[in-house]
């Protein structure tokens, strides 16, 4: 991807040089005619599955817009790359402004990478549309003049799920155990959850911070079993959510799993059969929670142990 872009830049450079030497103004006009759109999103790592959907989405939008004639008669020219991690995201953002000469920059899912790109945008006094990161801090204490935010922030997610839990009498006097992604997104989601429990007489009895590359959740689930909560809350992100949900069922817990973060793309990534389907005895519906019935370890896929309830989740992006 990178190499292709570099090659295109080189070709572009050669064309410009040719223009200067031989004077083909038409080529200069053609070069400046398109609107260059820079897009950064994680395509690798724990948010890579979500990023692949983001890239698919923006490509579809660009194709549709160009097929309809572009913007102000100019075609969109998309440069979409893997943002990898916060440091690389910042470097690539700077390169897109300086070398790729993007007219507008957009993207992200990872709150930590979104934060570093926002800082680059502010330093360069350039626009950045932050599409998919949910940390409250990005539009709160770290907000800046150059960045706009599309996605729904953590506090709003917690409040929305919280309303559904309250409706089902699952907050007051209940013991909660939270599993939290150990980076800015999870920290800030945990803070929102704590405010919610505090305001509504929920009792947080334990929390585990979990590194974003963890795939085996059994050590954390053993701690959950020991703590014996009423409700387990998932403040995880990306692949963490998908892996936890699959492993949670194997532990056969009696306490429901509630997700403050689950969204359309997480559901697509998990795929049919890996998300609990709604059942007749569903306690919670239309909340951002998911809940599984205790199931045996051997027959997760059998009808008898199939999860009966689901409270689905959150927001479509």
């Amino acid at each position: 991807m990178n190499r292709t872009n570099r090659r295109q830049v080189l070709k572009g450079g050669a064309a410009m040089a040719g223009t200067a030497a031989f004077g083909f103004p038409a080529i200069v006009r053609a070069q400046s005619a398109s609107i260059k759109v820079g897009h950064l999103t994680p395509l690798t790592g724990f948010l890579g599955a979500l990023g692949a959907y983001a890239q698919m989405g923006i490509k579809m939008a660009v194709e549709e817009i160009n097929a309809a004639g572009g913007v102000n008669g100019r075609k969109l020219d998309l440069v979409s790359e893997d943002s990898v991690n916060p440091a690389t995201a910042a470097t690539k953002a700077q390169r897109m402004y300086d070398q790729d000469k993007v007219d507008i920059l957009m993207g992200e899912i990872n709150s930590a990478s979104a934060l570093t790109i926002m800082q680059v945008a502010e330093r360069n006094k350039r626009f950045f549309l932050q599409i998919g990161a949910r940390s409250d801090a990005l539009r709160g204490k770290n907000c800046n003049k150059y960045t706009f935010h599309m996605d729904i922030p953590n506090t709003v997610m917690v409040n929305a799920v919280g309303q559904a839990l309250m409706r089902d009498n699952m907050v007051k006097g209940k013991k909660f155990f939270t599993l939290t992604a150990d980076y800015i997104f999870g920290h800030d989601l945990l803070a929102a959850a704590k405010r919610f429990f505090g305001a509504n007489d929920g009792n947080l009895i334990g929390n585990e911070l979990i590194a974003t590359d963890v795939t085996d959740f059994s050590p954390y689930l053993l701690k959950v079993r020991q703590a014996n909560p009423d409700i387990v809350c998932c403040n995880l992100a990306g692949n963490q959510v998908t892996n936890l949900v699959k492993q949670y069922a194997e532990f056969g817990f009696k306490f429901p799993l509630v997700g403050f973060n689950l969204n359309t793309a997480d559901a697509w990534a998990a795929g049919e059969g890996n998300l609990p389907a709604p059942g007749r005895r569903s306690g919670i519906t239309r909340s951002t929670c998911r809940r599984r019935r205790p199931s045996s370890t051997t027959s997760r896929r059998s009808t008898a142990s199939r999860p009966r309830t689901t409270p689905g989740s959150s927001m479509s992006r």
Partner: protein, 98 residues
């Protein structure tokens, strides 16, 4: 992308300062939801409907994208979009800081 396309066509420009000024006027955008959305001028957060969902029972999905059954929009049609967003008191954003 479509929000940006609409904004750039409304200002007939790609100038980043003009774009920011336009969005800060709380211009309304079609965001493929029931109600249009706008960016709140003091924290640049998009004000929009949310759709809580449940998961369809196995076998009911038409294809691999059709897993979810959307519930009614939050906030309801008669409530302002801002009603689910943090207030100025709750959100410590200051866009004018040096």
């Amino acid at each position: 992308m479509k929000v940006m396309a609409q904004a750039m066509s409304e200002i007939k420009d790609t100038d980043n300062n003009k774009l920011i000024a336009h969005l800060e006027k709380q211009a309304e955008f079609d965001i493929l939801k029931g109600r249009k959305g706008h960016f709140r001028n003091w924290d640049h957060q998009l004000m929009q409907e949310a759709y809580p969902f449940t998961v369809k029972a196995k076998g009911q999905a038409k294809d691999k994208w059709d897993l979810l059954a959307l519930g009614p929009a939050v906030p309801g049609a008669n409530q302002p979009l801002e009603s689910i967003a943090p207030t100025r008191e709750q959100n410590p954003c200051n866009l004018d800081k040096a």
